[in-house]
């Protein structure tokens, strides 16, 4: 019997039916605008400076250093990259159950807003972090909308304007090909200037 093998405490995970194949603060959000049409998708951003989502081999495009994702930086294990001029950060989150450096979520921001990241970051050769479509810090609202379109949801979060783009249509090539349920881009603005960008796949 299985229990005979247990000396003190044990947890066992047993298959019962295999046929089934198939930030610290609570967000104070106020929805301001919702023009998302789930049938019409935006062009997703999938990389930053050559570092790609869901592609562990792309790490070599930005660093040759050995990376170790750390807990307690964000909700999921993450690697922090710092711009060469020490003004911007890129947090790449690696979801639980995935392999090393297989990132599912990117966050770009100013180091001055998150100074503690300075001590845990890996400095890379670039002075700016830019996504494949051209998303970057400092762009203004009009540039953002020109780049990503008008199919966004806008809300206020603790007084900060946030524009959110989502792809969750199962017929979307991105959702279909990755098998992941939801992709999003969330851009935060102060005085109509972008100061934080988060994009990638939601943890299921």
């Amino acid at each position: 019997m299985l229990m005979n093998k247990i000396l003190l405490f044990s947890l066992f995970f047993l298959l019962s039916c295999s046929g089934n194949s198939n930030s610290k603060m609570e967000k104070e959000t106020t929805l301001i605008r919702d023009t998302i049409d789930s049938k019409i998708n935006i062009q997703p951003d999938l990389s930053v400076n050559g570092l790609k989502l869901l592609d562990e081999s792309s790490v070599r495009n930005i660093t040759s250093k050995k990376l170790l994702a750390k807990d307690f930086i964000r909700a999921h294990p993450a690697v922090v990259f710092l711009s060469n001029d020490n003004t911007q950060y890129l947090i790449a989150s690696q979801y639980e159950g995935d392999i090393a450096s297989y990132f599912s979520l990117f966050e770009i921001g100013y180091l001055r807003d998150q100074p503690a990241l300075d001590s845990v970051g890996v400095r890379i050769q670039y002075n700016n972090f830019i996504s494949d479509s051209g998303l970057k810090l400092g762009m203004d609202l009009n540039q953002l909308i020109e780049l990503k379109g008008k199919r966004y949801k806008e809300y206020s979060e603790h007084g900060v304007k946030v524009l959110s783009y989502t792809i969750d249509n199962p017929d979307s090539p991105l959702i279909r090909e990755t098998g992941l349920p939801l992709y999003f881009i969330r851009v935060s603005l102060k005085n109509n200037k972008v100061f934080k960008i988060i994009f990638g796949f939601e943890y299921p």
């Binding site: 995970f13 159950g97 349920p181």
Partner: protein, 153 residues
Amino acid sequence: MGISESALTAINVTLFLILADGTERDWTYKAVAGGFGNGAPENGEYTTDTYRDRSRNNGDYSEGMNKDGVGFSFNLNPQFDTGRTDLRIHPDGNNEGTRGCIGMSGEKMILTNFRDNIKNIIQVKRSISTKVMINNNPNNDGRNGGKIPNVNE
């Protein structure tokens, strides 16, 4: 990424306890594993430790690790070589399924009971011996690779 190997698997999580007087007790909970990414964790020996509060209003908050208002995670540490990283046991929030973690099913009372049982044990005994046994498990160690396809929405 072997999407074909990511099929959602329903499992039972059974906690066996042998008390100091020799009395045996066990509790069984419903859970799922896989459905996304590399699928269920590989069969084999693990240890379980490290409680983290994942509930809302917490810096470790993760919607995917919250269900019915209960959020927590325990580390699930493989005792063998694998490419899979940071496996956890947590409530199965968001979409049904996980990227390799054990996603606990059930309602608030069940999840709270499971959380508290494991917390109590690891307060006494820092780590719990754990075995994963899933029939027809593809045992994907994640090293097959896989890249995001070229997508033109």
